[in-house]
């Protein structure tokens, strides 16, 4: 019997699995750390996808093939897409606030994390040293992996399995109740009401367009008011305000605004002449 087969039978990791672990493990850690440090929530979600894919591949390497594929399909496929969906619905406005509401909370959190991991690792190492891993080969020998899981799911764990169906239905109904917006049919605003509301609001005219055609092709460019100042309402709220101010500054740098005002407009002169006569 070759040593690889013996190793698989006892549950010790083979050389191939070790190589896979030392590639996937750092990738998983990288994804987790990247998720915490990413400023943009969408980047966080993508880092988490990396971690979940690595963990799924580790399940495959450990011999839990079915669970590995379920991990990839359910977690990275369904759950993370749900996350991205909600991120897109909430938009850029859901950005992280940088202000620390409790002083020293980040340092304290880091210390708590390090202490917690130290505690867990020391406890685990203490508990597991000297334990000979058995491996899943014997447990799945008779029916195969799927058959063995089905066997235990539908006999030993039948009641919890039935309970999960109740849980899933409750969750689906609960999500529908929470996300549903009640709109009564009679509440539609008539044109008259909309006109009145518009006249009473401070601005009767539509919002100004961005300064796209005048100076640049980016819609982060704000329009300039007659006095040369920036009109912030001309840029969509989805565009970063800092970015649009930056763009405005760049475009106004070499531009002498007084020169624009002193340009002799042909039409203008014609009008002036007609006025004089």
């Amino acid at each position: 019997m070759n040593p690889e087969v013996v190793a698989a039978a006892t549950g010790m990791a083979t050389t191939g699995e070790q190589v896979a672990f030392w590639i996937l493990g750092p990738l998983a850690l990288l994804g987790a750390v990247g998720m915490i440090f990413a400023k943009n929530a969408v980047h966080s979600a993508l880092w988490l996808v990396l971690t979940m894919l690595s963990v799924g591949c580790m399940y495959l390497a450990q011999g839990a093939q079915f669970l590995g594929f379920v991990q990839i399909i359910v977690y990275t496929g369904a759950i993370m897409m749900l996350f991205l969906f909600v991120l897109m619905l909430t938009g850029r406005e859901s950005g992280d606030s940088v202000i620390e509401s409790l002083r020293g909370q980040r340092v304290a959190a880091l210390l708590v994390g390090i202490g917690f991991v130290g505690l867990l690792v020391s406890g685990l190492v203490h508990a597991v040293t000297g334990v000979e891993p058995v491996g899943l080969a014997a447990a799945t020998a008779e029916r195969g992996e799927m058959g063995s899981i089905a066997n235990s799911l539908f006999t030993t764990f039948l009641f919890p399995f039935e309970l999960t169906s109740a849980l899933l239905i409750t969750a689906a109904v609960g999500a529908m109740v929470l996300a549903h917006v009640e709109k009564r049919p009679g509440e539609k605003r008539s044109q008259l009401k909309m006109v009145n509301a518009r006249m009473r609001s401070g601005r009767m005219s539509p919002l100004p367009g961005p300064g796209v055609f005048a100076t640049s092709s980016s819609n982060a460019t704000p329009a300039l008011l007659p006095d040369g100042s920036v009109a912030p309402e001309s840029v969509s709220s989805l565009v970063d305000q800092y970015e649009s101010q930056d763009v405005a500054r760049r475009h106004r740098e070499g531009a002498e605004l007084t020169a624009l005002e002193s340009i002799e407009h042909p039409h203008h002169a014609e009008l002036e002449g007609r006025h004089r006569s």
């Binding site: 011999g63 669970l67 359910v74 759950i79 992280d96 994390g113 799911l153 919890p160 609960g174 996300a179």
Partner: protein, 99 residues
């Protein structure tokens, strides 16, 4: 190689997730950190199942996945409804049960 390394990795991932929950302020990112912690626990379940040589750990990991899916659906719906009324997904802003 002993499969203990997987347990150490899962402890590290769990710790990173816990620190993320404490540090981040965006409710959706906090949720992602919770998902990371659930994943770390699943990894340790699978490893323990391999060490002990029976499939109970794998079945437990399935149940954790089901509960995680239900939790994500309800939690994201709550975040959406809070965002709709307050225009913010920061956990510092939501300090009242009413409004």
């Amino acid at each position: 190689m002993n499969p203990d390394y997987y347990l150490v990795l899962s402890a590290l991932l769990f710790g990173i997730g816990a620190v993320g929950v404490l540090v981040r302020r965006n409710a959706i990112v906090v949720f992602m950190c919770i998902e990371l912690m659930l994943n770390a626990v699943n990894l340790s379940f699978v490893t323990f199942s391999r060490i002990n040589g029976n499939l109970d750990g794998v079945v437990m990991a399935f149940f954790v996945m089901v509960v995680a899916a239900a939790e994500v659906v309800v939690g994201l719906a709550i975040i959406m409804s809070i965002f709709r009324s307050r225009r913010s997904a920061s956990i510092d802003d939501a300090n009242l049960l009413k409004y």
